[in-house]
Symmetry: D2
């Protein structure tokens, strides 16, 4: 597998030469070996100039004088378990490790930069963030929708901010890259560091995103309930819609983890409803044989059924998906009514629960380390980057690289093969 980028595309930008001694207990000098291979397999890629990512670590020399730093933190887009853990780790890292004293939260996403909304900044201290990791959501608030890049950078200038930590998904990372560009064009010395947030775990070159494991854990509980409902009635059908706009990682992982799922539908794998091998007929055969069934569908699956409908977008410019859960429910009910087969379908959409619970222990730990790495990067004067983990190593990527492509579930990946083995489901193709 060749990457879609070259060695030089992975280079992290720096605002300037770091000359100030780090106050940290342990920090490291920069060497040309502080890299993790993109492709950690032996062979030709590793010779010459292999593609690598820069490893995240606290550096011996930092760019910013901690006593003069003003830092901002902003959270954008949908909720995801771990947001507060990231905020908390950034605040504690800046405050305790680097002795930065001027840290502010921007309210309600990028809205908080725009004067017309009138959202005041929030002063962040260790006391304010002490227990926030025990709550879901984000104490800063969030919002959807693009805001003017110019106004955002105006605001950064006005507040004398030297570093901005942006926690958000695809669209937010796009905006972050533009902010970094505007900052650079204005010749400002502001570090822009992004922590990628995607409950779908679909950001490129990021093995694992914070909140994903918690989301899977919470989703399995909803699936368990669907299974209970399905088993408890004649021809009981439990239908669970989970997140996954373009990538079915949550649906697939939860299905493998919970094991009582019979059918998984994801955006990456096409399926038909009609026909002798279509989904509806396969479902009928399953009910005949076992008299109950559990279906998990990712929200982005089967969008082809809505092709004839008009495309709508939300405020962030994301395409508004048609509701495949409600659609499937209707199709299933009509199919069996036509066949005069009585069924008991229960539809569960746990999305707002899945995304708003607090991070579990392991996800909390992971979120905290990402936050710490973001702090180390910013203090070293790095900018226009996202923090990542790749093959078990914490590292950094230019923002551009993280948003070029989207990570998808490959139909011959171990995860999808596991889904097929766990469910025994066929390919649902008409004809």
């Amino acid at each position: 597998m060749k990457p879609y980028f070259n060695a030089e595309d992975t280079k992290i930008k720096r605002l300037g030469k770091a000359t100030i001694e780090s106050p940290l207990h342990i920090s490291y000098g920069i060497s040309k070996n502080d890299q993790i291979l993109f492709h950690p397999y032996p062979g030709i890629d590793q010779e010459g100039s292999p593609v690598t990512f820069e490893i995240s670590q606290p550096e011996k020399l930092i760019y910013f004088d901690p006593t003069k730093v003003t830092a901002g933190i902003v959270t954008c887009g949908g909720l995801c378990p771990g947001l507060n853990n990231v905020i908390r780790a950034i605040v504690l890292g800046l405050y305790h490790a680097y002795k930065v004293r001027s840290i502010f939260g921007i309210r309600y996403g990028f809205q908080g930069f725009i004067p017309k909304y009138g959202h005041p900044l929030v002063k962040l201290t260790p006391e304010v963030v002490a227990d926030i990791h025990e709550q879901g959501g984000t104490i800063l608030g969030s919002s959807r929708g693009a805001q003017s890049i110019e106004e955002i950078v105006d605001s950064l200038e006005r507040q004398n901010m030297n570093m901005l930590f942006i926690i958000g998904g695809d669209g937010t990372l796009n905006a972050a890259a533009k902010i970094a560009k505007e900052v650079s064009e204005r010749n400002l010395k502001i570090s822009v560091v992004a922590i990628p947030k995607t409950i779908d775990n679909d950001i490129s070159c990021v093995s694992r995103s914070f909140g994903f494991e918690t989301a899977v854990e919470t989703a399995t509980q909803a699936i368990q309930c669907a299974h209970t409902e399905a088993q408890s009635y004649p021809n009981g059908i439990g239908l669970v819609k989970l997140m996954g706009r373009y990538s079915g990682f949550i649906a697939a992982t939860a299905a493998v983890a919970q094991r009582d799922v019979n059918f998984v539908l994801v955006p990456e794998v096409d399926f038909d409803l009609e026909g002798a091998n279509g989904f509806l007929e396969v479902l009928r055969a399953r009910l005949e044989q076992r008299s109950h069934a559990v279906i998990v569908v990712a929200e982005g699956a089967g969008q082809k059924f809505f092709d004839s409908l008009q495309v709508e977008t939300d405020k962030s410019g994301n395409v508004k998906l048609k509701d495949i859960g409600v659609y499937l429910q209707k199709q299933i009910q009509e199919y069996f009514q036509k066949l005069h087969i009585e069924t008991n379908l229960k539809y569960i959409d746990p999305s707002y629960i899945v995304r708003s619970v607090p991070a579990n222990t392991n996800d909390g730990l992971f979120s905290a380390i990402l936050g710490q790495n973001a702090v180390h990067a910013a203090m070293a004067g790095k900018s226009d980057l996202v923090v990542s983990i790749w093959h078990g190593v914490y590292c950094q990527l230019p923002i551009a690289l993280a948003i070029t492509e989207r990570k998808k579930l490959h139909p011959s990946s171990r995860l999808w093969v596991n889904v097929l083995e766990s469910t025994g489901q066929p390919t649902f193709k008409a004809g």
Copy 2:
């Protein structure tokens, strides 16, 4: 408070004289004092012939010879935490305490009695039920919809059943009373014992129904998520629909337990949407002041808004409620759009999760005791009764008494006063 029934209405029927010595470790002789007062307050009611309920207890002399007993267990209607605990306690009580060896589960509610459905009986033993309390739902399955009382009693005769344990709600208790009547008219010696199941906790003369506490606990978790969503967005609104067809106990109790709820709407307390003091305007004022709000609505609230629509019923004959959650969501969104106020409403309907989780520890214990009491009653030859708890004392009522009225949340009860204090909500009356 005078009861709507007389002392003689509380008398439990017996199939005949009990003459067999109970094999139990500890059991009690019957005395005329084995009664709990309906109204345990001093005063005139207690003189003469006060209204009392018969206390549940294992009796010294039993009616059925355990070696000759065949027992049946059936679960009907919607799921409720604790169903499997009740089943398990009945099986273990019959098997271990009384040494009954012939115990059967009827599959999928009353359908399991009707030959045309072809559901086979399930032999129940301690091994089969050993771990079922760790699962939600009912291992026997359930169904909605009336079945022929004659066919049910035919089936009881055919299977030589001496006792039938019926676990179900309002409609099921109605059917249970009819089964007991038919049994009596055919002069059969079959004990019919009901364990009232109502996640809404709305059965008359039953202080607490199994599964209610677990339902409240699970509902509070969904409300917590709604609160997190609401707080995380500008003008965030979390709207949670909970069970409660005619009685708002779950909604009210969960709101008091979770404490972050701002508005509770229940069937028992009328409210208007429009007008200067209507719900929508009060909500607007709240958002202006605090910029987020959490609303909990019981499914049976506000049915007056659907008055002009046609009444529909489900298979059990229950009136199909119009969906107040979806309706409210639409009304709120339209109201604020008209005012050009941007809001972020998140709608959570956790009903299928709330009803299908396993019972928590305390509810499990309570369910088990109800099951044991049902066994003691049946072995003693009592019939046409429901097991209950009243003022902390386990007791028994004639089925008729439990279904005459429905328990409702009184607007001047401590619970509703607590709701008002906890939320600070006004009466939402137009004008």
Copy 3:
């Protein structure tokens, strides 16, 4: 069952005539019927002057002018789930319902009253207590050990306190009664209201104490682990020590709830270790038959084995129990070593976990209502009382009545019979 007290012993003291209109939404006038029967069974007790408890309710006329009230809250003795819920409910009740603005927490139990310890008071507001119910323990801190009643009342006078809420167990209630007496002798108008705290659920005339259900739930998890350990090794023995100094309610209830327990040892039921029917021999027979066993022992069980040892007391004057868990462990190991039988004993003492977890939903709700009732009582000018629940009705008792006797597990009670049925254990008597 005749009570050990008379009708007049249940009368609640009042500091004086209540003349101020209550600001509450709903409150009630006092009538002579606001009583719950001690003995809610029909018969002779109910005639003449039956023994009753005063029902807890907000009264129409209150004694204290809310604007002039200074209230204190103190928590004493060991931790118990729900302490913070009670504190929170008292603060919110005083603040929101009665508009009291001067509320203080006393730090570290009665130490907080004594100048030499130098613990400052803590100002309590709705903001301070907003989320404390999500934490275990007590935000006020606690301590053991008696303090001078005079110094405590001196401190109350010095701080101008009009009401003191005392949350504590047996010893604390004793002190509370003495404080009330001293207050009365000095002719002060200070309401002393106690909320009984006993994780053992052993206070007389109190059906249920806050935290008990949570303790049982947490204990069952530890028993589950003991069961897992026992089953996983040849001759595996899981031994769990639970709280229960004089009353085995936690041990017995948890054993019935968890169901995998084979032996329960409590203070109320004597047992021998040695002899053909002694505990050790019965355990051996069980291992021979099933090759694993789970034992639950209450800390106060089997104290007779330490009779020859000297009695020690802790700072609160409680007798220091010898450790029956460690003793049993040693006896079991020696017994089987002597018989050359290899066993795998795992000893779990989850006490500090059981007592320090947060209250579960239902216990949280219950704790809150007790706190509210304490507030209503104090505002009405009642004193020298404990809040209680009796036969499902919230009521009040004079402190003296609650501490005269200790509630114990009766060997012919339903709970103990349930233990015997669930475990199948014999009486362990030598000979």
Copy 4:
């Protein structure tokens, strides 16, 4: 970092040429590139013949004819979350993916092979293992202690076993290597595949061991309780002993995850108790300043304090550690008594709870994949190996390589630096 082994040391043995077509949905041909670099960093190691591990994957050609396979599964040593998940995944993988029908569990570890113990084999089917992942422990049972390698291999021959799955720790892996050697010397065709079990996460070349994350999560709950206890009393000290015989990973990770820990003591970092900078004096200073403290100690920490005592070993030959928890408790109490400072120390040892809970969702998933990989390896005729994960890639190592060294917590690792930052603790060195 150079590995302590060479490229050829990582080569996996095969029983013979695989010639049978795999029945799997998706399987892969073997290529020389199916390797993950031991050291995935660019530089000299990657040239010539780099050190790599063989990637785990289902192969196109398998060695064993599924219809003729008899497989055995054995679990040894201490409990660890995930054992049942591994067993279940092996059974389901063999049964469903390869259609193997003859699968047996060996009871109580290696004892189950030795005739004199008389433990019968357990037939394992999908029905038997369906729900076992919801329980902690191992349904097969376990035991400690070496057994004769000859007798074990005799038993394998007697039962016609072609593959043995061994789940166990250090000592067990040692025995597994010897079994593989004996099998090879007898020229038998039996695949020996090990799944390393170590709740301490201390096996070399294995990034993560199953159960570790669940253990950390459970341990944090106990630490939370210790924190609650400590905060609730004047000079409150919460002391928690966690697992970690030679490696402090659980203690360190849980301390970073929970964040309220003030001192972490692990085997890898020496500390003194006495002296001006010793632990006891630092603890005193902390109490003076903050009046409470939480200490987490790994069981293998501070063994130097027992140097003068005699070394004892358990049945598996593991050195019996002296109890540092109890020792510390005593030292602390004596130190403060001498200084006449009153403290409230609560000692929590949650070890048996931590190791016997069921795996959490993510650990369950991970355990299952390890089990599947073990099946693929065995079916392909590989032997004398452990399944592992290395830099995010599932791979395999010769058993010898996994047991040569023990993985330890490096004092300059990110984890330990995190502990230092989170706790602020100094080095506790006398003088």
